[in-house]
Structures are given as C-alpha cells and as structure tokens.
C-alpha cells in the first residue's frame, strides 16, 4: 500500500510539463488532483519512473466565459465547477452533476482534466462532456490540438491521449435559449460511482423539441450518447406514449455489464427509469425557461 519510487517534477508551466513528459518517454504520469492516480500508485498497479505535477501551473484552473461557451482550465477542481456562478448560469445541468461527484474531500482535489483523461466507465464528467458537446484542448511538445469529446473516449479507462500529451482545457458551449435539463443518478451510497446515471437537455422551438441530448454513464465500458432515442424526440412534444418509446430506445442502445454491485438487467432497467425522469425534468424546465 505504498507507491513504488519515482522522480518528481513540479511543472510551473504547460511548456515545462510537456517538455518533462517528452524527456521521460512513455514512463511518465501527470499528477493533477491525484484522486484516481494515487490509489493506483498505492496499489502498485502503475509504476511510472517520473511524476509530473501540474498543480502549480498558474491559471490552469480558470473558468472563463466567451460569447458562445465556457472555457474550463484542466486543473479546475470539481468543487470549483460545482460552485461556479458562470457554470450555474450557463450550464446548470453541470452544476447539478458535480454534486454527485464523489465526496467533498475528493471534489476539493479532483480535476476536470484528470477525470476526463482517466475516463472511468461510471464517472460523471465524461458523460457531461459528451452531453454538452465539449471540445478538449490538448498540448504536447509537438504543439496543440483540439478533439471533440465524441471522438475522445475510446473505451474503459482509454482515451485519445498519447504519452506526451496533456489536456489543458475544456470548452463547453453554453446551453441554447429555451433549453431544459435533467440529471438523475443512482449509486449505492451518495458520492459513489454511478450504477447508472442519465443527463438530458431538450431545446424547444415553438411547442416542439428542436434539439435533444441524452447521455449515460455506468452502463457500459464508456459513457455514451443515446442518439436513436434523441432522434425520436425531434419535432415532437413529450406527450402520450413518446416517453415510453424513448425509454425503450435508451434500453436497447446500452449493453451494461454485470458486476458485484448490480446485474446487467438491473442497470438496463434503471437507465430507462432515470432517462424518463431526466427527460420529464428537462421538458418541465424548458417550459419554465420559456415562461
């Protein structure tokens, strides 16, 4: 339960961090909040020869507003996201989601960049990045690139991030006007990883739905969007039997695993129930925002 020995580099800039990563080859790890990495080190599941600490990079935890989006620095702590007035105003579904992320002691340290790079199959932030059509900014010694969240998550704990690369920030487009949202999660204990969680947004045009987004986590190797279910909602009102057809579409989209905590069948059932609740909340809020 003690980590193996490693050398430690405290980077004070992204330039210094990517240089250190490039010099270390494949054998370095970035430490941000450390809330997933340090348990893996303590269990000796990982044995990096170098840890590059990015906690002292000034400005990497900034939350800034542009006309269309909110840019969140990679080192932004979960508690900052949870309590940010900018996030509450433009992305309230994210404020709500953050209250479900682990416990205060974890939220004080854990970062958005770390959570996205780790990509736990039952974590909230990868799901929220997919829901909100986030764009990730990534740097390496070779330069910078951008990748859409939908292309970033490849599988359980697997993302489109090479050894010398670091996430520097996440750009989240603001919710459009006349958009309602819902977030529903069931975990064994508050703050535990989700047995299933669903986040949804509905954007209205007139009296019908113009854009629908449904994202899920905890129900497969990686978070995902339920595109087929989303398609059923376009041009419709959330009335009659539509919600049951959407729930059926969500359930057929996912392939949850059975593990110690819940069976595949239970997770599939739960995901449908939570999708129904999240969509009902989104529909209600979309009408409140129009009023």
């Amino acid at each position: 339960m003690k980590p193996p020995a490693f050398d430690y580099i405290a980077a004070d800039s992204i330039a210094m961090a990517v240089k250190a990563l490039a010099q270390a080859g494949d054998d370095a790890k970035i430490i941000a909040g450390g809330q997933s990495l340090v348990p893996m080190l303590n269990f000796r599941m990982l044995r990096p020869s170098v840890l590059v600490d990015i906690n002292r990079i000034a400005g990497l935890d900034a939350i800034a507003e542009t006309s269309e989006a909110i840019r969140v620095g990679a080192l932004t702590r979960h508690y900052q996201l949870e309590t940010s007035p900018l996030i509450a105003r433009h992305l309230p579904v994210l404020s709500c989601a953050m209250t479900h992320v682990a416990h205060l002691a974890i939220r004080n340290r854990g970062t958005i960049g770390g959570s996205l790079a780790h990509a736990d199959p039952a974590a909230e932030l990868p799901m929220m990045a997919l829901l909100l059509d986030a764009e990730l900014h990534i740097a390496s010694a070779a330069g910078e690139r951008k990748v859409d969240a939908r292309d970033f998550f490849l599988g359980a704990l697997t993302v489109d991030l090479a050894a010398g690369e670091i996430i520097t920030g996440v750009v989240l487009p603001k919710l459009p006007p006349r958009t309602g949202w819902g977030f529903e999660e069931v975990a064994r204990r508050h703050g535990d990883f989700a047995l299933a969680a669903v986040a949804a947004t509905l954007t209205m045009s007139g009296s019908t739905i113009e854009q629908a987004r449904i994202a899920l986590t905890g129900v497969g190797p990686k978070a995902l969007r339920a595109h087929e279910a989303e398609g059923l909602l376009i041009g419709q009102a959330l009335e009659g039997g539509l919600i049951d057809r959407v729930i059926d579409a969500v359930r057929t989209t996912i392939e949850p695993e059975t593990d110690l905590h819940a069976s595949s069948d239970y997770r599939r059932h739960l995901a449908g129930v939570l999708a129904g609740r999240a969509l009902a909340a989104a529909w209600r809020r979309a009408h409140e925002s129009a009023a």
């Binding site: 430690y8 405290a10 809330q35 205060l104 204990r189």
Partner: protein
Amino acid sequence: MSKTCEIDVTVNGKVHRAVVEPRLLLTDFLRHTLGLTGTHVGCEHGVCGACTVLVDGDCARACLMFAVQADGRSIETIESLGRIGRMNALQESFHEHHALQCGFCTPGMLMTATDLLRKYPLATDEDIRKGISGNLCRCTGYEHIVRAIRAVVGKTEPVR
C-alpha cells in the same frame, strides 16, 4: 532510490523543513516524520476518510497526496482543533452526543465536518448524511454523528 526533495510545510501553524522521498504519502509524513498520530490511516486508497486533513483550508485525503506536494502549503490536522480539557465546539458536540465509540474514524469525521460546516448550509439531516458519506464509521451507525454536526450548524463560529 529516487531523488529526494526539500520541502517547507506549515502544519498547524508551525513551519517544518524536511527532506522527503517523492513517494512519501502525506499521511506517513504527518505520522512518522512529525509524530502527529491523530491523523489515522485506514484504507490508503481514498475510500474510508480516516486520514482527512485540511490543505489550505479545504478537506482532503492525506493518503492521496504526497508530502512533496504539500511544499509551501498549510496543513491542518486533528491536533489543530482542540485539546482534552479545551475542545472546540464541534469536538464538544461529538462528546455530548456520543458521536464516537472506538474513535478510529473520528479525526477524519471532525476534519470533514469542519470543511462541510464552512461550505454548505447543511439544512437537513440528509445534507449532513451526504456530506459525511465519504467517511466510514463501523461503530455508531452514524446517527449520533449526524446529531452532533446538526447541533453546531448555524453557530457563528462552529469549529473555531
């Protein structure tokens, strides 16, 4: 053997200079290097909450931080809260409400509750239960801990 690092860490208001291996966990630095054994070590992977301390005023798992990361930071441990005969209001409340039995989880509970009381209104018992959900207690069933925290919610200086 990796290269060692020199650190200056403020612990409970006192600056300590030390030379540490990078892999030294903050828990072990507090307990073995400084002799502050009030911070308990349970699971060593961030699940039980027994080692919770304050880092620059925010509660954090000391088993998920390296001592080298505390360089230049201010750490507060259970030893900063009060002493036998002069406990702070939160500790008094734990005493009054029988909120501990074996005492293993108590330092982590107190440090977590200290930060919770500063950051959240804790308007309902459900809020308190969610707040301490990351701290395991195997004796009390949590009822008395919730009552002890409830009793100091809204006091002007609940924990100092």
